[in-house]
Symmetry: C2
Subunit: 526 residues, 2 copies
């Protein structure tokens, strides 16, 4: 395993402070000494990215697709090694991480398909009308082009699928942008293994070396330098509200503004309507207990807030849900710091006046160095309305049930909620009309509305929207999961009165790439 | 003419300082006393917009289209009155403003067509795969929905087509967003006439009253309150770099970030390649002289920078261009302030060491109170490279010719240019390959590349891109002209596992609205 910074395909040791990864299950230091990258490494990586951008943004789409597929193949080649190391670094089980390898390579191949098919550039052609009165109409053709170098921050909770070669990297490379990854300090070894796979693919596919770099830092300086670098054209981040807002602030200090796509999580409210509670309280409670604790409660879409009215099915629901939480076992949290935050924040909520602990998971037989015990709290709507802090996300297997006396109270609660990645509605079909105003209200809060399902398990597909009104994400107009994630890293460009041979293939009159495009308002492969 | 603020269809006098419009051609005060809106008016308009947003975002697309068309009809009804008043307030001639009425109503009808057709929402459907292993795939459907209330700043240089009912308002209303316009203080009377037309249309079409408000202020306070109001979801602005950056700064101070779409103009470089200069110097010079001075040089896409190498055709080009500039006549500038800025900034450039005045227009026989005389400057590439200030936009009929000794110098000049709305390339077909690296380089600077034409005359169509890398605009991923301008004001939302009757018509399984959508990766009207 190469522990040096990977700059445009060349390994260069950082000259900053050293750090090592720690196994959160055991507390042991893991092999491999990493060094903070610092200013000269950042400059070198960004200059190489700027040079690569000119070439990489213009290579043929099939070449780009081949590059993405080769990365997937190379990741599979180091798959078992990466799973082992990622498990040591994150405390996540092998089965989950093996699944994540599949998701990571699946995403890369999905973007390869998208790029190869080619229509994603949204080509629009308005042909000339030289005889139009009073003015002739010129020929204008527009398509999306790559924005330039993108800085990606590896996420702690998906050491593979949202880290070095995760969704952000895959979508930026697909758009034609070089990528500079700031490795998450919790899994530098996993990051090194995946970076080597990307480098091998770049070499095999003759990509310009600056198309990819990986820099380490267990502090904030390298990340700040990357965000503020003049060459950087966009930033992608998945993590905490605090982390995302710090990056947004850094970007606001730039002379040239750039988009920061920070997916900062949310509490993903679940609305439990009375008829559903009465008819299937057991099923709802069981599936929600599983969703709250799944993957150690580390998913961005973990349901952290359950909303119900006093109703006949509520008590049975609470009993089954509490039992479900009690039956789960603690798992290691990703890092010591995140573990302490979970303890601190969940304990803080539970210490607030009027908040009741409904259930807590037991202890494991085998000791865990940095464990998180699933917890379920309960509070009245009146108390919740008086305590804005209760709305803050607790990262980990914690959820709070808010009980309203009636519909007015429930509407008052939903009215104070901020933006969310998801809102879930558990309802019988016949009660939807009855609660239409409430459903209309909560729907405005979120990027995705889930009916009678759980919000965890974010499907990677064309229709997915993962991103919602602030503070769920910094730009609700984009998604960070699914093929539409590519649109974060492209901008439209128009050519006016350009000779056919000087247009990109996507816009040439014969449609040589056979893509779907809109010509004089008609969309077809013409 | 109603001079009171128009708040959700009701006229309410402002209680701030009074102001009147001034005719820039004569200096006379125009009838109508307007008052600054202030905080309570802003609150009232925004609360009404918030209430209207819930209803207006969900009305049927045909109703929305009818509303847009009725606005167009109502504007035509006050057309000659509006042209007369706009001419008095802006100094622009009747013929130009009559054309602008046509552009304004044309835009409204174009967005009506877009909304009525319906496919703009980019509906994507991934159907369920209940038997997929290891996990079933849920049904997920995504489309664009309205962002909520949009604040629009009227622009001085298009008192109709980019003011109260201009492109920003038309695209925001088309997206389903209520609009609150801050009237430009240079044309309050024109603003009042157009607001009355919108109000009449809203009433005829039974729109929620908060769908439109118009507020006056000849200072900055009302605009600042609008940008910072919690209900505001996006801001649209066309104007100066200073003005756009002030709005961006105000938005950065908000608790909840919102997008600011500021189109801040640019100097629109024109690259004059040697063979083109040699073959058709006269034609190029004549069309550029017209483009520089058209509409008093007030267009965002006025060519402000001409780039050429020493070559056989250059002297003839300069002679004809200088003659063209000398033959034009001064016209009134939009306001006293903008007139003084033009004098100050063009004089400042001309006073810089190494800058030569090539030509200046004569005086008019009839006196103009606030005139601008077209001016043409010349500078060497070396001097231009040493003087970053020469790159600043001069708003008005001013252009600077930069003469390079050779290709290296020309490339050095284009390398220091910042983002632009347009770049124009005047070239013979056979010399394009020769200069491919230079063309690739300048193409990265702009939102639109014009070949052998002039950048003024921005076509309103589907393929138009009006917006470019910063500082041309604050978000290069969007356009402010053409149908794609609607995408500034919409965000994607996904429905998971939702019963058909609870989905918007755009996503229902039978495709009742017959729109183009993508189902399981196939795009069709299915």
């Amino acid at each position: 395993m190469q522990t040096a910074n990977s700059i445009a395909g060349v390994y260069k040791p950082g000259n900053g402070d050293a750090f090592q990864a720690i196994n959160p299950a055991t507390g042991e230091m893991l092999e491999g000494i990493f060094h903070r990258a610092g200013k000269s490494a950042v400059d070198e990586a960004m200059q190489a990215a700027a040079a690569a951008a000119v070439i990489y943004s213009q290579i043929a789409k099939d070449q780009k697709a081949l590059f993405l597929r080769t990365i997937a193949t190379e990741i599979e080649a180091v798959g078992s090694l990466a799973v082992k190391r990622a498990s040591e670094e994150s405390g996540l089980p092998h089965a989950r991480l093996t699944g994540e390898i599949g998701r990571t390579t699946g995403q890369l191949r999905m973007f390869a398909d998208l790029v190869e098919e080619g229509s994603w550039v949204q080509a629009v052609i308005d042909t000339a009308q030289p005889n139009r009165h009073p003015m002739p109409k010129p020929d204008i053709r527009r398509m999306l082009v790559a924005m330039g170098p993108v800085v990606v921050f590896g996420a702690s909770n998906f050491p593979l699928a949202f880290s070095v070669a995760g969704g952000d990297t895959a979508s930026a490379l697909a758009a034609g942008c070089p990528v500079i990854v700031k490795a998450h300090p919790a899994h530098p070894g996993t990051s090194a293994l995946i970076a080597a796979a990307i480098n091998a693919a770049a070499q095999q596919c003759n990509m310009p070396p600056g198309v990819f770099s990986l820099l380490y830092d267990d502090g904030y300086d390298t990340g700040a330098l990357l965000v503020k670098h003049p060459v950087t054209k966009a930033v992608a981040f998945t993590g905490s509200y605090k982390g995302g807002m710090a990056l947004l602030q850094l970007a606001a200090e730039r002379n040239v503004p750039i988009p920061v796509f920070a997916e900062m999580g949310s509490i993903n409210p679940v609305l439990l309507l009375p008829a559903a509670l009465e008819k299937r309280s057991g099923e709802l409670a069981t599936s929600l207990a599983a969703s709250i604790t799944q993957g150690g409660g580390q998913f961005c879409t973990k349901p952290g807030l359950l909303l119900a009215m006093q109703s006949p099915g509520l008590e049975a629901f609470i009993t089954t849900l509490a039992a479900g939480i009690r039956q789960t076992l603690p798992v290691p949290m990703l890092t010591e710091g995140i573990c302490h935050q979970y303890q601190h924040h969940s304990a803080g909520k539970l210490a607030a006046q009027g908040v009741e602990l409904l259930a807590e998971a037991g202890e494991t037989a085998a000791p865990i160095k940095y464990p998180t015990r699933p917890r379920l709290a309960k509070v009245s709507a009146q108390t919740f309305l008086r305590s804005p802090d209760l709305q803050e996300e607790v990262f980990g297997p914690y959820a709070m049930l808010v009980v309203a006396e009636n519909m007015e109270e429930l509407q008052a609660v939903t009215a104070v909620l901020s933006g969310q990645l998801t809102v879930t509605i558990m309802a019988e079909r016949e009660e939807l009309s009855l609660h239409a105003p409430l459903i209309r209200q909560v729907s405005q809060l979120a990027g995705r509305i889930v009916y009678n399902g759980v919000p965890t398990g974010v499907e990677v597909c064309a229709a997915m929207q993962h991103g919602g009104p602030f503070p769920a994400s910094t730009d609700s107009r984009f998604t960070s999961v699914g093929t539409a994630a590519i649109y974060r890293f492209a901008r439209p460009m128009a050519w006016q009165n350009c000779a056919d041979e000087w247009l990109p293939g996507e816009l040439q009159s014969g449609n040589p790439l056979n893509i779907l495009r809109t010509t004089d308002l008609t969309t077809a492969r013409l």
